[in-house]
């Protein structure tokens, strides 16, 4: 399957059409989705209509004819925004698309459907009690990771581009377990208008793709002001694509040590060794990561519980039990802990900014392990048996806590049957640096998204 950049270029040159590319994507979905359970709705009629409209346009746009899909917490006109839940299926259908869908389609892309996800995004596994699990294309008996699990399952071989959300790692975890490039931009960079929330303090949206260039292409089409998201930053977002191939000359790269050097499998360490070695990274230890992760954990519990309290009261039996019990516990933690967690956020932000005085990019593991088996409940790390569900996000959670931009890049160790990701982290608003490093790692052959 070709890249989004190649598809768009071919559609603009007239060597293919948006309709032909859309029909190809719909055929791949029909062939692969029954085994992978990535899609919860396929919008074939709408997609073909949009594709025909793109073909009829004089200015076809930077994403001309690129098929894409979205996690089912994005509003899509005519569908209830289920956010992985049973309860939300009773909502009236959305009357309009989420802003990011509108922006991608204005740039010529074609929405082909909505994707499976962990219920209400409170998940790192990609399992879903109502829709069944999304399955890892590299081994359908294994997890995709979550909560944007359908994005992971779909982007390997069905669509070249998808959009997910990331509160504590929900883009970076499935990108790691499915071997994809995933971008979690700076908090406040991309509008969340028209998506179902989880934790307003921590929610981000971003793209998955098989190439760093495709992430840049999509990102550039999605930035811009929007009154519909109160957290959206009022600052310019320079395009990333024009400078993507500038390479890494002059960039100072550090490897996260301390917290990020423990609690991981041999594969996670080896992948980081490979990336850090190629980038000439010196080790940097950041203090306070355990506390930062704790703070993100508690804010998530409390804000998630606040969002769902009425549904817990009246529809408790209709929740996925794994999600419900955690949300109920979240309603019971002291307010003083949450206020303290928010104060810790500012303190940890200052620490990370201080670390970026001496480097431009930090690399860290994305997940502690490769894709676990579906149904697995326990993660064995460093001689400890930990509950798997919260701990797949051990390394992503402290980074999104302070809103730093991250590209998850896919590594295949020699002879490995499964991929594993590495986080390429930059200072706030420097998506361009993380993307340049990701592109360099791809063009030098160290990172790649392989077909299943």
């Amino acid at each position: 399957m070709t890249s989004a950049l190649q598809i768009a270029m071919a559609v603009r040159r007239g060597t293919t059409t948006a309709v032909a590319e859309t029909e190809d994507a719909l055929a791949r979905i029909a062939a692969l989705n029954p085994a992978l359970n990535a899609f919860t709705a396929v919008a074939a009629e709408r997609a073909l209509r949009q594709a025909a409209a793109v073909d009829a346009r004089a200015d076809k746009g930077p994403l001309a004819g690129v098929p894409f899909a979205v996690k089912n917490l994005f509003d899509v006109a005519g569908l209830p925004t289920r956010a992985g839940s049973k309860i939300n299926r009773d909502l009236p259908p959305a009357t309009r698309d989420a802003t990011l869908i509108t922006r991608l389609e204005a740039a010529g892309a074609v929405l082909v459907g909505t994707l499976n996800m962990g219920e209400y995004a409170y998940d790192f596994t990609g399992e879903n009690a109502h829709d069944g699990p999304s399955r890892n294309p590299h081994d359908p008996g294994r997890m995709t990771g979550g909560s944007s699990g359908g994005c992971g399952a779909a982007t390997v071989g069905m669509v070249p581009l998808s959009l997910g959300s990331d509160t504590n790692g929900s883009i970076r975890v499935p990108a790691s377990l499915c071997g994809l490039f995933g971008l979690k931009p700076t908090y406040g960079r991309l509008t969340r208008a028209g998506t179902f929330p989880f934790v307003a303090s921590l929610d981000h949206l971003g793209p998955f793709a098989r190439h760093a260039g495709d992430l840049a292409l999509a990102y550039d089409a999605m930035t811009g002001p929007d009154a519909g998201d109160a957290a959206l930053a009022d600052r310019p977002a320079p395009p990333v694509l024009p400078d993507l191939a500038r390479g890494i000359a002059g960039l100072r790269v550090a490897r996260a040590g301390g917290y990020f050097a423990a609690m991981q499998s041999l594969e996670a360490t080896a992948a980081l060794d490979l990336v850090a070695g190629a980038l000439g990274a010196a080790s940097v230890v950041i203090d306070g990561v355990t506390e930062a992760r704790a703070a993100a954990y508690l804010i998530t519990m409390a804000e998630g519980a606040a969002l769902h309290l009425d549904r817990l009261r009246h529809r408790g039996a209709d929740f996925d039990p794994e999600v419900r019990d955690r949300l109920i516990a979240g309603a019971m933690i002291p307010g003083a802990w949450v206020a303290r967690a928010q104060a810790c956020r500012r303190v940890f932000r200052d620490r990370m900014l201080a670390a970026f005085a001496d480097c431009d990019v930090i690399v860290a593991p994305a997940t502690p392990c490769t894709a676990p088996l579906l149904g697995q409940k326990v993660l064995d790390l460093d001689g400890q048996s930990l509950p798997l569900r919260p701990n797949l996000g051990l390394f992503t959670q402290p980074i999104s806590f302070v809103g730093l931009p991250v590209v998850a890049v896919p590594v295949w160790l020699p002879g490995a049957a499964l991929p594993i990701g590495v986080q390429v982290i930059a200072a706030p608003w420097r998506e361009d640096l993380a993307m340049r490093v990701a592109h360099h790692l791809e063009t030098t052959g160290l990172c790649e998204a392989r077909p299943a």
Partner: protein, 60 residues
């Protein structure tokens, strides 16, 4: 906090929150509440001083 203490807390909080709690939900809630307390430990021990401002800023 012991498991019986967590169960007592959960039952009282369920009343306080007017949150009906089925018997088979309680074990899961106990696990998550005790995990939260364990994870909160280092954060609660951190010396933040009196002037660390919470992160969310309301912009009128």
């Amino acid at each position: 906090m012991t498991q019986p203490e967590a169960e007592t807390l959960i039952d009282a909080m369920a009343v306080f929150l007017a949150l009906p709690l089925a018997a088979d939900w309680r074990p899961g809630v106990v696990v998550h509440l005790m995990a939260a307390q364990r994870i909160a430990g280092p954060l609660l021990a951190l010396d933040l001083g009196d002037h660390a401002q919470p992160a969310p800023v309301y912009t009128p």
